[in-house]
Structures are given as structure tokens and as C-alpha cells.
Symmetry: D3
Subunit: 243 residues, 6 copies
Amino acid sequence: MNLFDLEKHINEILKVEQFDDYCKNGIQVEGRHEVKKIAIGVSYNNTFFESVKSWGPDAILVHHGLFGKGVIDITGYKKKRIENLIKNDISLLGYHLPLDASFEYGNNSEFLRKLGIEIVEEFTFGYKGKLKEKVEFQNLIKQVKEIINNQKLIYYENKKYSKNITVVSGSGANFIEKLDPEVDTYITGSVEEHTRDIAKDMGVNFINAGHYSTETFGIKRLGKYLEEKFDLEVKYFEYYNEV
Amino acid sequence: MNLFDLEKHINEILKVEQFDDYCKNGIQVEGRHEVKKIAIGVSYNNTFFESVKSWGPDAILVHHGLFGKGVIDITGYKKKRIENLIKNDISLLGYHLPLDASFEYGNNSEFLRKLGIEIVEEFTFGYKGKLKEKVEFQNLIKQVKEIINNQKLIYYENKKYSKNITVVSGSGANFIEKLDPEVDTYITGSVEEHTRDIAKDMGVNFINAGHYSTETFGIKRLGKYLEEKFDLEVKYFEYYNEV
Amino acid sequence: MNLFDLEKHINEILKVEQFDDYCKNGIQVEGRHEVKKIAIGVSYNNTFFESVKSWGPDAILVHHGLFGKGVIDITGYKKKRIENLIKNDISLLGYHLPLDASFEYGNNSEFLRKLGIEIVEEFTFGYKGKLKEKVEFQNLIKQVKEIINNQKLIYYENKKYSKNITVVSGSGANFIEKLDPEVDTYITGSVEEHTRDIAKDMGVNFINAGHYSTETFGIKRLGKYLEEKFDLEVKYFEYYNEV
Amino acid sequence: MNLFDLEKHINEILKVEQFDDYCKNGIQVEGRHEVKKIAIGVSYNNTFFESVKSWGPDAILVHHGLFGKGVIDITGYKKKRIENLIKNDISLLGYHLPLDASFEYGNNSEFLRKLGIEIVEEFTFGYKGKLKEKVEFQNLIKQVKEIINNQKLIYYENKKYSKNITVVSGSGANFIEKLDPEVDTYITGSVEEHTRDIAKDMGVNFINAGHYSTETFGIKRLGKYLEEKFDLEVKYFEYYNEV
Amino acid sequence: MNLFDLEKHINEILKVEQFDDYCKNGIQVEGRHEVKKIAIGVSYNNTFFESVKSWGPDAILVHHGLFGKGVIDITGYKKKRIENLIKNDISLLGYHLPLDASFEYGNNSEFLRKLGIEIVEEFTFGYKGKLKEKVEFQNLIKQVKEIINNQKLIYYENKKYSKNITVVSGSGANFIEKLDPEVDTYITGSVEEHTRDIAKDMGVNFINAGHYSTETFGIKRLGKYLEEKFDLEVKYFEYYNEV
Amino acid sequence: MNLFDLEKHINEILKVEQFDDYCKNGIQVEGRHEVKKIAIGVSYNNTFFESVKSWGPDAILVHHGLFGKGVIDITGYKKKRIENLIKNDISLLGYHLPLDASFEYGNNSEFLRKLGIEIVEEFTFGYKGKLKEKVEFQNLIKQVKEIINNQKLIYYENKKYSKNITVVSGSGANFIEKLDPEVDTYITGSVEEHTRDIAKDMGVNFINAGHYSTETFGIKRLGKYLEEKFDLEVKYFEYYNEV
């Protein structure tokens, strides 16, 4: 498949033009134009590169590619990350906020579907969901843990039951202040020093399920879609991160 | 002591006018004007308030007071935090960035002094320091742990030894990209998903010593100074936070 | 009635989300959640508060509540205004630009209706209206005076007759420069040093009918609506201001 | 005297380059280059122009010239104001904020000197002054009235005596919130609907001495200086404005 | 015809309200209100003025009128340009970006129509077109030259044939970087030092057909339309510019 | 010499930290750290790269390196430019505005020195100079041509003689409006459609001496300095550009 056709297709299904992001969503580094094998993962870096290299991908497709705005500056740790791609003629495609927010292929919608929670409405880059029946918060924690391979959780219990549950993958801790009053439980991928007491003073249950662990769903879903839709070999490479 | 004289004095020694912050540095909520007893701590919230209330302070002085910019909005969890102060006629004074950055009374300069590291120059809101002799990174970790009461650390070892050490208290993880090439070790109070691999690709040792744990030094140092300088009773209230 | 349901309802009928204002439109200070009695007025301040206190309102609803953008700063004259509310558990709701601009409940549309002038189109936060027959400007002045209880007017006569009349309540003097050429008469609630000669050089009649006096219509109209629609006691408190 | 030399000299003594204003400070419309006669006044407009025309000035020098930022647009009431100058080959020079703020030639410093009040420090575009002995506020009002030819004042008495007095000429009403606590009396040239109650809730005396009436001092002082310094005929043209 | 009716009509057909420009699009200097004769041209300046003066126009209508944003400043070379209009009571109307971009009356759509190229889609302020059959680039150059009266061209040949051709009149050289990959030839009215090598490294043919020469089409087309539609005498005045 | 020591030294002598530019001034692409041979030139692109490659430079140092602000986007024509460097392990250093403006090593100061004109003061990124005796403008043109190897000039004569001469290398045409009245001649490296008539209406002589041709002086001067100061081989590569 042609690299630019691939980019155009993903840009359309993820509605890339609707997002103002601090990375380019699409081709960040241009490699060979004929794409047959795509390595996917959560985050691009030199360790990730080494783990996919021998598989021989034509392109790497990740949630966290190369970040940053400003003048062109290919030095320091970024230089090696770019050099690895260019010397091996491998393209890097990154999709950040569009892959959090997508209803079809996104981290948050997938998370809620895996928990069996019906999606009710958008909330920043995530979604608010509603359970048919309330569950004990301790039960919900167990279900979350199963989905994310027993990642260690930081959680704050301020209500015995959960029913209206909002999920924002990644660094979403500060969005807790914007929850509507109906929400009893907030799941995200980060926690700040002030989060414990804001959750307590708001009376809301809180779960930090990990930045990495909440962001594997979207890229896997997207990879599967591409493999089925086009004549492509797609392989997910795990490089686990406790944060 | 008069409340406004107290504020004026602290504003001067912390050079408040030099900072563009997302909270007011100074009196955030005005209570009784005669101040004899000051409760100090890292973060103001309703649990903290309950713990200091019976001691009968005239004012509360913290590093994390009331944050946020925008139109006046005394609702939700903030309403109760303000109500507690107003109904008890207790003032709230907050000093944020000036208390990170101060050379005399700051979180970072105090941290380096406790580790016996000579301060070399400013770095964002913290400081760069230099050891006379290099130490093994694993040794440095032990020393850091002692200072912060065995707070659990997340660390990434990318060099065997440490000698040039930069410290930024609180949410400083992203400043790692701005370190000058001489620095071998970065200590801060937060960690992001990408920090592990940026540290690795840069070849820099990294320690997340906790947001709370890196920010007790400044307020304690300031409290001691005020107690000695003026006719005031000052008491530190611990409300530990693992984050 | 529940406080948050009340806010939600007013926000909807005044289309609050369409305005970028320098105050919050809605609940500015949260008091008791059950609302039965609402004191309404033009402007909230300590004198106004004293005058409504003995009536025992659950909430105060005004056009001018608490203004200002920036970091949280509950000191000086604002502190007492907030303290009065919090110590008495009374909510403050403010609606500023949405209450100037509303076609149904606004200061300007009501003003024109009281003068018997047909509304033609929007103009900034006010409206342009058209009389069926032109009237002498001196006659129009008399009619305006009747509506605003003989408030002393500053006016500049530059045409003998009025027919196309634009009204902007409050501090609208500078909008005179944006009038379309058809307008012969501009009524607003403020006057600047340069207004006299801009009106003269434009050849437009000008009336300053007072900031306060042009802004009682909307809040009264809204109060009456709420009283009829819901099970609420609503009372308007006059605190006249010649400006 | 050459027009550009004149501009250069005034720009220097008023420190024009220090101000970010919403008009050009200097030559706004270029007329004949040889300047012998200068008509001065507070505000330029067509009525003012007619009153000075027969005297035959080479240049008009005012505090309020042509205001506004944006694309070039010589239409409507501004067109005639510019045409009058160009057809008669008369220059227009305007000095706005620099003429409020100047210590030597400014509206505010002159005002305080005329009241016999010692200037203590700058305050926005005006000055804070201090009397040797406190005076009754009612007495101060009388003195102010004498200086400004019995202009009708709006004032709010909230303290019996005045000693620390701040003056900001023109539209300064909203700066009342920034006064330091020592100030007991604020004199300015405008008043807003909320000023009465902010002054009351702050406990500060307030005088609106008129926009026009507080802004004749600077231009007169500057005119006198130019007449004495250079070989120029300078004449002040009064066009009184009650606002 | 009335001047303001004329402006209103042109504003509508050129969709002026859709553009954020660095000049006013419409009446820039207001002259006599009754318009019978309109002199049109590309650029207004004193030489252009002298050439149209004896013809006795009521208004001048150009693509490049008076440019610049900021405070009112009628000095230097702009003063004479304005004086010429005001002393002769002639209006100046300028239409800049709307006259580049208009599909009906624009510089770029007219250019493509004259070359017999079908317009496919908008591109910044110009259009992308497509030929039915590819032509040799050297042939295209000849056709362009004929249309613009043998203006000397700077061109860079990087492909033998042209088929997908994008045109942006005036200073469009830097838009070359935004061309979509299908475009093989870019025609504009300027060239920068880096253009030659960007065109070469992109593999795109480039023609600088001159700022002036690419911008006569729109104003002529608009002039003809106005002459036919209204009872007006319209005359184009050539003042050729090799740039 | 070490690459980072080289960058640090140039940054200091060109006062890089004083400029807000649309490229990084310093290392734009990091190559090998040991630098012995430096290829210098005006503009980096793929043709320039091919011409220097066989000489075997460790670093390329130019006035025009990689431009643009925004998210990381290594695609299109920029991809090949970066690839050439990375695959050959050659660094790219770019110095833009600091190399125009430098008094010691800059394009403009060097230009004036070569013309034997004394530098009087800074003007934007260039300098104003003064001749001891006025020269005929046609004579000045001849001298300029000699310095820039008979580059074809566009010039506009509006005064017979030149004495006060301002020079701004590169795209400086629009700065003509900011010249002080004493300047009779402006030399720059670009020309716009409106320049001819602004120069004429201002009465100022104008020379467009070419973007490339006005910008060889600084980089040559810097190269010579580096060669003499350090143990480096430095070679200038001409890739002439008529623009």
C-alpha cells in the first residue's frame, strides 16, 4: 500500500483535522513509499525501535511519536530517534489526541466497551458511560485491573458504589474538576499531588489506571482494522511501562 | 503581628513580584488582621483544615493554596474550602513558585543543602548542584530516601555515577529535556510515561522523589524563619501524600 | 426548587454559552441548595445585601454580581461581599451580557417595547428599532424620562426628529461609532468626554439615560418569569443609583 | 520652527516611547512644515476646529486628537475632521497618555501641585500625594471645585478626613480597586455605576471632577513651556465640556 | 450612483466579510457621494493619481489602495496620497484579497480561464486547475507570456510537462510548500531566494509571472461588470510595473 | 574542534540569544562531534549539498539553513535535505538574523565597509551609514555592482546624489517606510510591487542588489574568522542565485 494513501485513510477515519495537537498527526518521518509491514505500539523511542527492527517493518505506527512545537532542531535524544528511522528508510506515523477521542478506534471508547459500560456522551478527549446497575467501587477496581493486566492502581474511594463512570486515558487527572455532578467515578491514566483531596472534597471515586495501560486499546484496535481492511501485515510490539 | 505586614514581609523575601504564577502569591483569603498563630503545611484542603482547626490558628500558610485563573466562581469543592476559612475568620496565605525557587527558603535549595551538594546555578524553578566527588547512583538514591522519610521512589539508572545533579521539586519531569549536557542526574517530584525513555535516550539518571516529599522543605524553612524573626507561634502540620 | 436546576434553566433561556464575559454567568457563590425565595436587583454589594437580608432570601439574582478575571483573591472589599453570602448560606447568581442581549428577557428589548418601538435587528448587546412615524426628539426625551422615573438625562440634539432608534443599556457610549447610517438616535447608559462631538460630527441624536436606569428592565422581566414558571417567591429590591 | 523638530522635542520631554497608547503620540496629520502659531486645547473635533480657524494656526496641539487602531479608514465623522486639517494645511499633534503621566507637564502632577499636595509616587497614569495635615473631605471638595471652575462634582464621602490623595485624570474610575490601603481619597475624571459601592465598601472618599476639567492642566502647562522655550505664538482655546 | 450603494454592492459580490486583510476592503477615503465616473487600476499612488486626474473621476477603484494597520498616522508619503483625494473630493475604494480570491471576478480564476484551464478547487487565495491534455512546460510559458503582454518571466523547469497547474497572483511564492503532490506547475507573482531550490527539491515547475502582471485581470473584470450593471463610466488606467 | 564548543563560541560572538527568529540559530542537525572541515555557503539545499559532499566536510555552516516553526514534520522536500546530512553524519549549523545584524561579522556592516561608508547607527537588522562627501547616485550604483560581481540591479532614482545610505540585506524592501527623513538612499535585497512608488513618493533612491548577493559577506567573514581562530579548514562554496 502507498504510504500517502495510508496516511490519508487514517486521517479521515480519525478526523485528524478536528484536533489542535502538540505533534503532527500523520507521517512524522517519511520513509519508503511502499508499505507492507507495519509495527504498532504505544510509544516510539530507541528501545522500541530496537525491538521492532529485526521484524523489518516499512512503517511504525504509534500513539506517542515525536512531540514538540518550534523551530527545526534535530539534536540530542531526538536526533538518534530520527536517525534510526532515516537510516533504515522506515516511516513513522503518530496519532495522538485523535486516537484518544475516536469513538470507533479510540482508547477511551474501547476501555468502556471492555468494561461493558454504555457510552453516554463525550467528555474532553474521553467519554462518560453509565452502568445499568450500580456496582461496588471495589468490584469495579477488580474489573479494571483485569483489563489492564493487573497494573498497580492508585485509587481513592469516596463513594461505596459506582454507576456513572467517566474515562480519560493518559494525563487526564486535572479534568476531574470538570466532571458533571452526576458522575460518581473517574478513571484516568495519571494522578497529581492535589488529586486525592480534590476527589475527596468532591466526593468522587478516582482510579489512576496508568498512562501506558490506558493507551494500548486504541492503537491495537486501529491496527486490527488496518490489517483487515488492507493487504497489510500488522504486529503489536509490547514495551510495558508502569507509569 | 498585622496580617498585611506579614504578607508584605514574605512577598519581599520571596521576591514575589518576579513570578507569573497560576495562583496569587500572598493572602488568598483574608481573615482576622491580628496574627499570632500560624499553621503551616504543604497543601490546603478540607482534611488539612480539619487537622489544624482545633489548634486555633489565625492564619494558614501553605505552598499549595487555592489555584486557578478565571472569573470568580465559588462553587463545588472550592466553596467548602473557602467557607471553612471565612466562617472561622482564618486567613489563607499561599506561596507557590517563589517558594520553589527561593535560594534562601526554597524547596530546591534546601533539598540540595540537605544532600550536601553545592549549588552551582539556577535551573527553571530549581537548582543545579555539583558534588566534590562522584558517588554511585545507588548510593545517592539511599541518601535521597533518608531525607524524604523513605518515600517510595521511581528511578531510572542510565549512568553508574552521579556528580552534577539538578533538582526541581514538584511536577518537573518535563524539564529533563532542558538539562545542560554536563548534568548526569535529575531529581524531581513527578514522572511521565515518556520520562523513562527520554532519560534512557539522553543517558541521564532520573529520580522521582514525590511531589509532596520534595516540597516540605521550603515551607518548613520559611516557618522557622518567621517564628524566629517575629513574635509568632508557628506549627507544621503533616498530611502525608504518597504522590 | 433546586439551585442547580434553577441555574441550568436560566442558562438555557438566556443562552449563556454564547457569551464571552468578564464575570461568570450563573452561580457565582454557592449557598443552600433548596431555593424558595429569590431577592433580585440590579447590582450586588454590601448595602444591597443589608437591604435584602431581613427578607430571608435563599438566593440573590442580579445583573451585576462579582466581576473580574484572574487568580483567586478574596481580600479587600470583595471579601466582605463574599463573607455576607457564605455566613448566611445565600447563593449569588449573576447574569450580565446575556441579560443585556436577550430578546425575551433583556434590558434593551424591554426598553424598546416600553417605548412602543418595533425591534428591527440586533446591534452589539442591544437592538435597533423603528417607529412607524417620526417623533420630535424632544418628545422622545419625555417618553424616555417617564419610563426611567425621571432620571436626569444628558442628551445632545443634532436632528429635530427621531425614527430609527438604537438602544444599548449600560456602558454603551463608544458603540455610537458603529451605528449604521440609517440610525438617527442613539440611547445608552453612559457618556464619554468625546461623545458630544462625535454625535455632533455624525449628526446623530444622543441620550444617556443612566447605567442603572437602563438596566432594571431585564432583571425585573426575568424575575417575573421565574415567579410565574416555578413555585418561587421573587422580590425586586430597589437601590437607586443616579449613574 | 520646523514641524518635525517640534515633534521630536515634545516626544523627548514627554518620553513618548515609553507608552503603548491607542493613538499616535506626535504628528497625526502633517500640515505645513514651518510652525509659528500653535492652537492648543483639550480635544480636537470640528467645533474646536471652527473656533481656532480664524486665528490662523499652523498647527493644533491637543490631548485628545484622532483615536483608534486598525486599517486606514477615512470615512464618516473622521473624514471631515481630517479634511478640515488637510484643506487648510494645518498639522494636528496629539499627546495622550504621556500628557497624563508626565511629572513636569502632566495633568495629574499639575492638579496635585495646584492643590498644594506633595507628590509621593506614581500610580498608573497619575500620582499619589500626601498632605502635611489632614483636611475635612468637604473642604477638599471646595478646593477641587475652585481649581476646575466650579465644575459640578459627583462625590462619595466615606471618611471625614483626607490626607493621602491619589489623582488620575480622565477615565480613571476603575483604578480605584488598585489603590494601596493608605490612600483615603481618590480623585478622577469619570464614574461608573459600581464606583459608588466599591468606594463605600472600601471606605474611600471619591471625587469625579470631570474628564474635561481634569485634563486642561497638562496641555496648558505644555503650551506655556513651548511658548517660553521657542519663538512660537501659543494660544489655548476653551471648548468646555461638562463630562 | 450613490457611493455607499456602490460599496455595498461590491462588498456583497466579493464576499468582503469573509476576509481578514491588512487593508480595509471598501471605501478607504470618502469623497463625493454621487458617482458617475470610476477610474480603475492595479495600484493607487501619486503617479497613478496624476494620470487619472484630468479624466475627472468621482471615485478611484483599485486592487492596491492604502495598506497598513495601526493608529491614525497621516504623514510622510501617505499624506500626499490622501491629500490628493481629499482636495479633489475623489473617493478611493480598495479591494485586495477578495479580488484575488473571487471565483467570478478574481485575478486567479480569470488567469486560469484565459489559459483555458479548468478550475478544480481553491488554493489559499488562488485556484488549482487541470488541463485536459498535458502540455510541454516550455509551451505553457509561451501561453503565459502572451496573456501578460510579454512580461519577462523568471521560471524554473523541473518537469518536462505540465497538467495540474496552480495559480496564486501577487506575492504567493511561499505557498509553493503547501501544494498538494498532484500539482506539477505553480504560477505566481513573486519569487524568493529559496524558491528556486524548493521548486527543484520538490520537482515542481515554477513561473514568476510578475506581481503587477498577474493582478490586472480581477480589477478589469470587476470594472467591466460595474459598467454593464450600472449607469457608470469606467476606465482602466495602465501604469505598468515590471515587478 | 568539538561541535558543541564551536556552536557555543559562534552563539556568543553573534549574540544569538538576542534574536527571535523563525529558525534555530545554532546546530539544526547534529552530525559527528569532531569537526575539522567546515563547508560554508549562503543557502543549504540538496544542490548545495551535492557540491560540498566530495570535499568531505564535518559540518556545513550557512546563513539559510532549515526554516519553519511548528510540529516535527520530516516529509517532502525537507526530508531529503535532512537525510543527506544524517546519512553522511554531517552537522548543519544555521545563523540567520544574527548574521545579518552583527556589527563584526554581519552582512550589512560588511557591505558598508566594502563601500567605504562609515556606519552611523543600527536600522532594523542592518545599518545606516554616512559618506564624507555626497556621490552621484549613478556612481554609487557602479560601486555596488562591483562589490556584488555585476549582479543585475533593479533601482529607482529619485534624487541625483547619495550621502546617507541605509543597507538591509535580504528581504528588506518593506523597511523603506521606516527610514528616518535624513536617509536619501536605501539598498536592500528585494523589491515589491509597491516599492517603486513608495520610493518615488518618499523621494528616496532605491537599489535592490539581490537577496543572495547581499548575503555572502557575513558568512564569508565568519568563515575567515573561524579559520584563523581555531584549527579548522573552512571553504566557501558558491552556488549563485540571481534572486
